[in-house]
């Protein structure tokens, strides 16, 4: 199958379930909200080495936030609810409790009975001076701080999301391939409920499971490294000189599929793209197999 002259490989992206939460952070102005949002979603590219996968979903206008202040919507993914709660308590405690003027709210109704406790764990920082407030059935904690108080919702909803959706874009040159990946990222980030957790939404170090070194869980995927094309069993077209991967997490499988579809469309509209494929582990890793050709079945 070809789209705009670009080969779409008949393969599938192998995705797996992860627990997801949406956090809304607000502050006195957009700049401080952005600082908080950036800090709390830092070092969260992959659960291979991080406690969670996280990123900014979108900027929120004051009319869209619970307290009428400017804010950001953030998405967090982890392997289990316990892991997600631990990661969020640590991250909110270290990066938002400490950040000037911020307040933190739940942004996801979530599955019934599957909430995690964030404000309820952070309240102890108040050392007995914390104040609980209930508004419209939701509990909030007010923790005294040096600039006034930190406000954090008690419980956050969670849902079973989908992680590990991916696209691998191979191109003629590094510049052209990066431009295509950037175009795909812009298109994919326009979809609410979708997270591209890597820096700029793009991965240059695609990995395979395992390594010749027993201590490593993952190592470079030499089949997609142009510099090794002549010496290993490669998966790349002969004229490919650069490859970028885009990893996609989403609140639902449909969102991940939609993101992959618009991402492929956008990348195929760029110069120098030779091939788009996807990473999988032979179907052993996850239950969701997103076939690239099926994404365009109706069109």
């Amino acid at each position: 199958m070809h789209l705009n002259g670009v080969e779409i490989v008949d393969t599938f992206a192998e995705a797996f379930p992860m627990t997801a939460a949406r956090v809304v952070v607000t502050a006195c102005n957009p700049e401080w909200a952005r600082i908080g949002a950036t800090a709390v979603t830092g070092y969260a590219s992959s659960v291979i080495g991080c406690d969670a996968e996280a990123g900014i979903e979108r900027e929120l206008a004051p009319a869209e936030t619970p307290d009428g202040r400017p804010g950001f919507s953030l998405l967090f993914f982890a392997f289990s609810r316990d892991a997600l709660q631990k990661a969020l308590v640590n991250r909110v405690g270290q990066c938002l409790l400490t950040c000037a003027t911020t307040a933190v709210y739940n942004g996801l109704e979530g599955d019934a009975g599957k909430s995690i406790r964030i404000g309820g764990n952070l309240r102890y920082f108040g050392d007995g001076w914390q104040i609980s407030k209930q508004i419209d059935g939701k509990r909030y904690w007010r923790i005294p701080s040096m600039d006034g108080e930190f406000l954090c919702e008690d419980r956050f909803g969670t849902t079973k999301g989908v992680a590990g959706g991916n696209l691998i874009i191979a191109g003629k040159s590094q510049a052209e391939t990066l431009a295509a990946a950037e175009a795909a990222v812009i298109a994919m980030r326009a979809i609410p409920g979708v997270l591209l957790p890597f820096p700029g939404g793009i991965v240059r170090s695609g990995s395979k499971v395992g390594s010749k070194y027993p201590a490593l869980k993952a190592s470079t995927n030499e089949a997609y490294c142009p510099t090794l094309k002549g010496v290993v069993k490669t998966e790349l077209p002969a004229s490919a000189n650069a490859v970028y991967e885009i990893v996609i997490d989403g609140l639902t499988l449909a969102l991940v599929e939609q993101a992959m579809r618009v991402g492929i469309d956008a990348a195929c509209g760029c110069e120098g793209v030779l091939q788009i494929t996807a990473g999988n582990y032979g179907g052993k890793l996850g239950p969701f197999h997103i076939r690239l050709h099926s994404l365009f079945a109706g069109s």
């Binding site: 307290d67 419209d136 406000l151």
Partner: protein, 228 residues
């Protein structure tokens, strides 16, 4: 119902028409001395065109009680949920605990467009009371939690003995209880949330924060907006 100490049928005093809907009931006529209207109600809407007597909405757990006139003492006493709106004034002990009880209002909200009497929110534990008019003495006394908003300030000795909870004052408060200490002037994020979710007319101003009552741990707060 009881008329004095004798049991009587409601139909002897009032004409009972079918409900306008399943969930709306309407009281018309002279109900100023009828006690316990809406007491213990759980759901639906109860509308009273005129005044109501004592204990209206007491111990209610849900639904909406809308009073077009004035309310007597003990309005919403020990209520646990639901909503009460009063167009006129109310007597003493709105949202309070009954004598001997440990907790007053434990949930829901009361909105009073007129004035409130003494001991508003006595031993209140949760919920929100907003008073547009003036408030008598000892509002929020021995309060355990919850929020009381006084749009024309509070009367003398507000918050006396309060353990936790929040008093928000728009206007001049006659005198601040001696158990309160001035802390700072700031902009609580909580008030932004409160304004956005509950009381949109709350002015966007810095507040003067007082903590008290120091005799009971000083975990309560009196937030005075602007020049309050």
């Amino acid at each position: 119902m009881l008329c004095g100490s004798t049991r009587a049928e409601l139909g002897e005093f009032a004409k009972i028409a079918p409900n306008i809907t399943d969930t709306i009931s309407v009281f018309r006529g002279d109900t100023g001395k009828v006690k316990r209207i809406g007491a213990g109600m759980k759901h639906g809407m109860l509308k009273v065109d005129g005044d109501v007597g004592m204990h209206a909405g007491a111990e209610m757990v849900g639904g909406f009680l809308c009073i077009g006139g004035n309310a007597g003492d003990w309005l919403g006493a020990e209520m646990r949920g639901g909503e009460i709106a009063v167009a006129g004034d109310a007597g003493h002990n709105v949202g309070s605990a009954y004598r001997g009880s440990r907790h007053g209002m434990r949930g829901g909200s009361i909105r009073l467009s007129g004035n409130a009497g003494d001991e508003l929110g006595l031993l209140m534990r949760r919920g929100c009371i907003v008073i547009d008019g003036t408030i008598g003495e000892f509002a929020g006394a021995s309060m355990i939690a919850g929020t009381i908003v006084g749009k024309k300030g509070f009367g003398p000795r507000a918050g006396a003995g309060m353990k936790r909870g929040t008093l928000i004052s728009y206007g001049p408060t006659e005198s601040i209880s001696p158990g309160f200490r001035y802390c700072c002037e700031y902009e609580p994020a909580y008030l932004d949330l409160f304004r956005n979710q509950i009381l949109s007319e709350l002015p966007r101003e810095t507040v003067h924060c007082y903590r008290g009552d120091v005799l009971t741990g000083a975990r309560g707060e009196l937030l005075m907006l602007g020049g309050g």
